[in-house]
Amino acid sequence: MSLLVEALRQAASLLVGGDGEIWGILWLSLRVSATATAIALALGIPFGALLALTRFPGRGLVVSAVNTGMGLPPVVVGLFISLLLWRSGLLGVWEILYTPTAIVIAQAVIATPIVTGITLAAVQNVPERFRLQLVALGASRLQMVWVVLREARLPMLAAVMAGFGGIISEIGASMMVGGNIKGQTRTLTTAMVLETGKGNFDVAIALAILLLVLIFLVNWALTAIQQRGASAR
């Protein structure tokens, strides 16, 4: 218990009195995961909507693959992205292994199926009669998709939360492709593992508290938008 109290004090002093390293780590985590979420949204929303609104042979297989991807183990993604980005790998010429860019790529790979899957479910939940009605009213296919997406926007905020929440707290991929390099690719989660390994449990707990507060603040903002949207309907 005293450890927890000590950790709370440590967290406060790290933020206020520290050398700024902690702010750098916090900012990097936020930046990397926000970028990856943005990429995942850009890819996952169109793909999820397409899957929800079209029928083609083998669609069941693709949907199953997306649902499997929602549970993609980060450490598996980390391993394969590492192989790809190694100097001897297919994309080795880019020389981006052990950079924040590499973490963004890995996290986007993890989050995209999550966003796709939730978008798929959200769009499918919009009644089909509504879609037919739109078409009957003279909407073009693109206009119809736009309106349906707007209709499904509240459940889709859950996609943002699930995607972001999944990758900001992820450790396996960040460790492997980022390398936990001080001042370059050290994120909240990898720093936590390092400090625990060093026996600095108070610092690790302080980092844990910061991570939880960060996730809470982001979800709080998103929930506020979601709930306000819900009551406005």
Partner: protein
Amino acid sequence: MTRRFAILALALLAVAVTPLHAQPPASRTMILSTTTSTQDSGLLDVLVPQFERKTGYSVKTISVGTGQALALAARGEADVTLAHAPALEKKYVDEGKMLNRRLVMYNDFAIIGPEADPAKIKGEKSAVAALTRIAEAKARFVSRGDKSGTHTLELNLWKQAGITPAAPWYIESGQGMGATLGIADDRQAYTITDRATLLAFAKRVGLKVMVEGDRPLLNIYSVMEVNPANGPRVNAAAGKAFADFMLSPETQQVIKTFGVDKYGQPLFVPIAGRKDEDF
């Protein structure tokens, strides 16, 4: 509602387009593959910035188990390696994967265990004899089990003792030294640890030092350059610069005093210029 979404999207975009970092040109970056224990001790946090200032190289330090550190280097995924598993290192040198292996420093290992000392090894001089007695007593022993330098050293000792340790008394943690100490403490088991990690955990681990000072318990660190033939983008010049830096008199002086302010004793003994046979 739509406006709020637009604001959210813009905010996300604003964060997204912040340049992640300015990448220095490839030939000025260097990858150092090393072991978790050097990282955990904090020594590299002191030495690497000095090297960067002195040479202008930007260093990426990848801390993994010794096995992985050498395997990465053998594939050309690193430019220089700092490791502490002499037998394994010599194998890579013999295969021509690693070049110019030079001793840098040593620290020491200790066999620690519960105060009750069920295998009665306290004060034993020989590490091999102590392990033999632990096996005979079937007293619990926690192994790293992760192919790290520490694990390699432990396996060598078992081999010398002619014992194949096995469950249930032999527990493999598969984790770093810190986590392994925690498990050993919790299970009231024996284990082998490096001095730096033991000092760092002194407050939280109640296990006592049982055997120390035996020659096989010396933990010798070497620096090796990566053979440029291992891969397409090995920065051999940077690797050599780092190896030379580790052996320079100034760096050896820093190593000699490192840890005194925090633990009251140095964590490493610098040994530039010495040979394996000297030990």
